[in-house]
Structure formats: C-alpha cells, structure tokens
C-alpha cells in the first residue's frame, strides 16, 4: 500500500483533533505516515498517533526546522515526497498548513486543493464553497495530490497501531531560513476547548456590550463544555481576545452546535460559521440576518435569555 503523508497538527506536544481527522482520511488512500515538525514528540504523542493508524512517525525537531516560519515544513515534505512517492499529502487547513501546502505544490509541481471537507478513496475531494452554498468535487491531475482539510469535517475513527519513530534529517533550503521566529506569544483564554475543534461553540458579538458582558457567554459555554467565539465587533472593541474571532479573517468553525448571541450575521462572520451543523440564535432584532441561518432562534435580550438557558441546562444536567 502506498504511503500517505500526514502533517501532524500539534501544539506544545499535544496532538490536535485535526490530526486524527487527517489520519482517518489518509487510511482511505493508503498507509498514513505521520510527519511531526517541532519539539515534543514523546511517547504519549506517539501513542495518540498510533490510536489513529499511523504506520510510522517521522520527526523533524532540529532548530533548522523549528526556528523559522512555514518554509522548512515544505522542504521536509518535499524531500519525503521525493523519497516515498506518496499517494497524497494531507495537511490541516490552518494558516500554516495551507501556506506550507502551497509552497510544497510549487516545489513538487503538484496540484493543490484547499479546505476539503471530505476525501474519497479515489482521492476526489469535496469542498464547500461560497459560504457553503455550493458543493464541489475536485481532483488533482498532476503530481502528488496535496490536500488541506477543514477541521471538524471528517469524523475521526480509531485504528490501533504501534508506529515506529524515526528522525528526519533532510537539508533546508537557504531561502527557507530567511524568516526567523524570535518569540511565540500566547494570547488565548485557556481552560476551554479550542475554538476550531470544539463540538459546541458559544459566540458573542457587539450585543454583549462589554468585556464583563462576556461573563454570561462564558457561563453558557461552560455549561455545555463549549468553546467561546466572538464577532470582530467584539474583538475589535477589546472585549475578547482576537484569537477567538470567528469569521472570514478569524477562525472557520464547523461545530455540531453554534450559538450566536448578539451577533447580526454580517457576511464576513457567516463565512466562518455557516457550515455549523445546528445553529441557535439569540438577538433582540427580529430583522438580524443571522436569523436566516437559525435552526432555532429567540428574539429577545441576551442578558435575560442566556442566563436562563444556562440555569436550565444545569438544572437538567443535575436531574
């Protein structure tokens, strides 16, 4: 069976859910080879990759790979493509994932498909474009198919393996070390599931009114084990960190449940949440365009509706 290269999404050695999704898709095409770029690939990480069927784990953790932005990832993947002629290269649709995939496409003269929501056994990718209004099936016709996959689109299915681990040692191009990362700054509000991979997202917009107002949003999120999102109006006002912005220029989320509170539903916001499976809306303006997307909506003041909902959820959980 041909190899399928999977670029591992991880942060600080913690394997992200996107990786399990990529591995699940990769197994339809061949034998998944996990490529880990960065520090922290310990036994725990290896075990997690094994749960989802990695046949091998290849690790690049030397400074030449980790101290520069994006470019060395493409160097590593290009070298592996040359060595192994994989059936495909699968990468998560994060900013870095897409950019590395783009550079790899240039290096290997290969076609690229971004933001796939599904991949079939013959390599055909499904994309959901124009705010989810159109479903497209596409295929790469030259070189090694390079496909980036939207997080939360493919249900991870475990398949236990015991992968081998080896260290990658391939040269990094001179131009790939030109951009140097001097510092990494964490600005996310921790303690909740990560926005892009959460099954439930509770978001607040300008209607929340203040940073303090986000307290009611966080309480609802916690009652559901959800991540907190925000519209750009709310992040620009400084009420919530920019890392939580949902939308065209924020994160694209596709959870099972999205609850929008005090958000009008501007096209740029919809671009990041429209493919959520179930959408609930609370807004005091019955004309707000976000209601067009709602499976269930309440026209009302979020400061009355949301706390009542939180209480009700807690009450029912206790019952």
């Amino acid at each position: 069976m041909a190899d399928v290269l999977v670029l591992v999404e991880q942060f600080g050695g913690q394997v992200k859910k996107a990786t399990a999704e990529l591995m699940t898709a990769a197994r339809r095409l061949g034998s998944p080879v996990a490529v880990w770029i960065g520090p922290g690939c310990d036994d725990g990480a290896l075990a997690t990759l094994g749960e989802f069927g990695a046949s091998e784990v290849l690790v690049a953790d030397a400074p030449q790979y980790t101290d520069h932005s994006v470019a060395p990832i493409a160097d590593v993947l290009a070298a592996l493509v040359a060595q192994r002629s994989p059936a495909a290269v699968l990468v998560a649709s994060s900013a870095t994932g897409k950019e590395a995939a783009g550079r790899l496409a240039i290096k290997t003269n290969s076609g690229i498909i971004t933001d796939a929501v599904d991949i079939a056994a013959d390599g055909t990718a499904t994309q959901s474009v124009f705010g989810g209004s159109t479903i497209v099936h596409s295929r790469v016709t030259q070189g090694t198919p390079i496909i980036t996959v939207r997080v939360n689109s493919i249900a991870p299915e475990p398949q236990a393996t015991t992968p081998s681990r080896s260290t990658i040692d391939v040269p990094v191009g001179e131009s790939s070390t030109k951009a140097r990362v001097t510092e990494r700054t964490e600005a996310t509000k921790g303690g909740r599931p990560e926005l892009a991979e959460a099954a439930v997202v509770v978001s607040g917009g300008r209607g929340v009114g203040s940073a303090d107002g986000f307290g009611v949003i966080e309480q609802l999120a916690d009652s559901l084990g959800a991540a907190v999102g925000a519209s750009r109006a709310a992040t620009d006002a400084g009420w919530y960190p920019h890392t939580h912005q949902v939308g065209q220029t924020g994160k694209t989320v596709s959870p099972q449940l999205y609850i929008a509170n005090g958000i009008s539903g501007a096209i740029q916001h919809r671009a990041g949440m429209q493919t959520s499976k179930t959408i609930v809306v609370v807004n005091k303006d019955p004309e707000a365009p976000i209601f067009e997307l709602a499976d269930f909506g309440v026209v009302g003041d979020l400061f009355e509706v949301v706390p009542q909902l939180t209480e009700e959820i807690k009450k029912r959980a206790g019952a």
């Binding site: 932005s69 470019a71 971004t114 124009f130 131009s175 990560e194 709602a294 499976d295 009700e312």
Partner: protein, 259 residues
C-alpha cells in the same frame, strides 16, 4: 524603499457567487468587480511604509481588462504606478498559475517588499503570497497583524491559533496582512483625479517570457469534476421571548440531544 502591492479584483463581497455550468469557473461577469477587501489593508500598509521610509508604491494586479479599475483604485488611494497583467491565456488560472504569473511580473524589478492581502474573498485559499515567496526565493512574512520596518530589517507579528509569533527577516521579503493591521484610507477627490495621470504598464505573457502552457486553465493542476447547490436547509423556528426564551432553547437542545 521600493514596495509592490498585489491586489485582486473579486466579485462584490455581498454578491451571490456561482460557478458556470460550461467550465466550472467562477462567474465573474454577473457581479460588480471590487478590490478584494483584504487587499485594501495591503495597499494602506504599503503606503504607510513608504510614507515613513520614503520610496514608491507599485500596484500589481493580474486579471481581465476590467481589473484595470482595481489598479486605478489603488492609485487613487496613493500608489505611484501600476502593472496590470492581462492575457486571454491567463483565464482560468489556479493559485499556482496566478503565483507564477505574479512572480514573473515582480521579478527583476528590485522590490524591497511585496505586500499582499492574506486571503482573497472569492478563492479563499491564502496561498498565493507563500507561493510567490517560494518562487522568488525570498523571505515570507505573512498573516501580519503588525509590521515594523527598520532599514532593511522587517519584523512582523504573525497571527497564530494561540496568539502570535514575532518573525523577522531582511529585505527583500513578501508580507501579507490581516484586517486588524490598519484602517484603509478612502480615495480623496484629489487622489481620484491624480490617479488618472499615473502610469500603468499593461503586460501579457510575451512581456513576462512565460509559456502559455504554464498558466491558464490548461495548466491548472486540479480539476472540478462536478458541483451542485447545497440542498436548502429547512427553515428554522424563530420565537419571541415571552420570559421563557432560555427554557425554549433548552427544550430544543434536549430534542436535538445536545443536553
């Protein structure tokens, strides 16, 4: 400092976008063309860099005849001159072909910085800037929420999932910007008048020494097999809060097995 800024003409953000049945390409004729929203931030950033460090801003766009309007808009915001890459053979170019043509147009012109938006609202790929950096073999400083230019040293804050990375390089470099970075200026009346007299070079594949085989639909290395409209979602239920809105949502969530 010689700064290029790459801008794309896209269908109006609010227009309904659709693929054409005959060739699966985006129907660009049926909607008004506007400058890609994020590229307005790129133009603003390029202008600010040159206002601080001196130099010139050259706007570069690849697109059909009418993309000249978008070049003109950047000139009316304050860019000094334009390069419009237009050729029938470029129709249907994918990201790789677009990056190839843009890189050919940028090459050999001694740009210190090449500024992009971080995403086009029609393709939404966010790959063209990285591809151009790869082809030109220069530093990639992308997804910037802040840019600092100090002589030949350029430092940005790159937006990440967890916050941001501080990334630094020497010129020449490719930059892409996110919308948090600045507030794009509106063209003034004076700017609009001045733009009419600014030079725009219109070039095709011959001037770029590019073989038509490497761009356009023929060279696009991925194909659309088929497409369809997503089945319409059943209309949802919207109720007015009569003091029990929260309870009603809880009922709905219970019915859907979320709680």
């Amino acid at each position: 400092m010689k700064v290029a800024v790459c801008v794309k003409q896209v269908p109006d953000t609010w227009a309904e976008k659709r693929l054409r049945a005959e060739d699966s390409l985006l129907d660009r004729e049926s909607a008004d063309g506007v400058m890609n929203e994020l590229d307005e931030y790129a133009v603003e950033q390029a202008l600010q860099i040159v206002e601080a460090a001196g130099g010139e801003v050259v706007v570069v766009s690849m697109g059909p005849e009418r993309a000249a309007e978008t070049v003109r808009k950047a000139l009316s915001m304050g860019a000094d001159s334009g390069i419009h890459v237009v050729d029938d053979a470029l129709r249907g170019s994918d990201a790789i072909a677009t990056a190839t043509a843009l890189a050919a147009a940028l090459k050999g012109r001694d740009f210190d910085l090449i500024v992009f938006g971080s995403e086009s609202t029609d393709a939404r790929m966010s790959v063209v800037p990285a591809m151009v950096a790869e082809i030109l073999g220069i530093a990639q400083l992308t997804f910037a929420q802040k840019v600092l230019v100090d002589g030949s040293a350029v430092t940005i804050e790159r937006v990440t999932d967890y916050g941001f990375d501080t990334v630094t390089a020497s010129t020449p470099a490719v930059i892409s910007v996110v919308e948090k970075i600045n507030e794009p200026r509106y063209p003034s009346f004076k700017g609009i008048m001045a733009a009419k007299k600014k030079p725009v070079e219109t070039i095709g594949l011959a001037e770029l020494s590019l073989d038509p085989g490497v761009v356009g639909s023929r060279a696009s290395w991925s194909v659309v097999a088929d497409f369809s409209a997503r089945p319409a979602k059943a209309a949802g239920v919207v109720v007015s809060d009569a003091g029990d809105g929260g309870v009603k949502i809880a009922d709905f969530l219970a019915e859907q097995k979320f709680i």
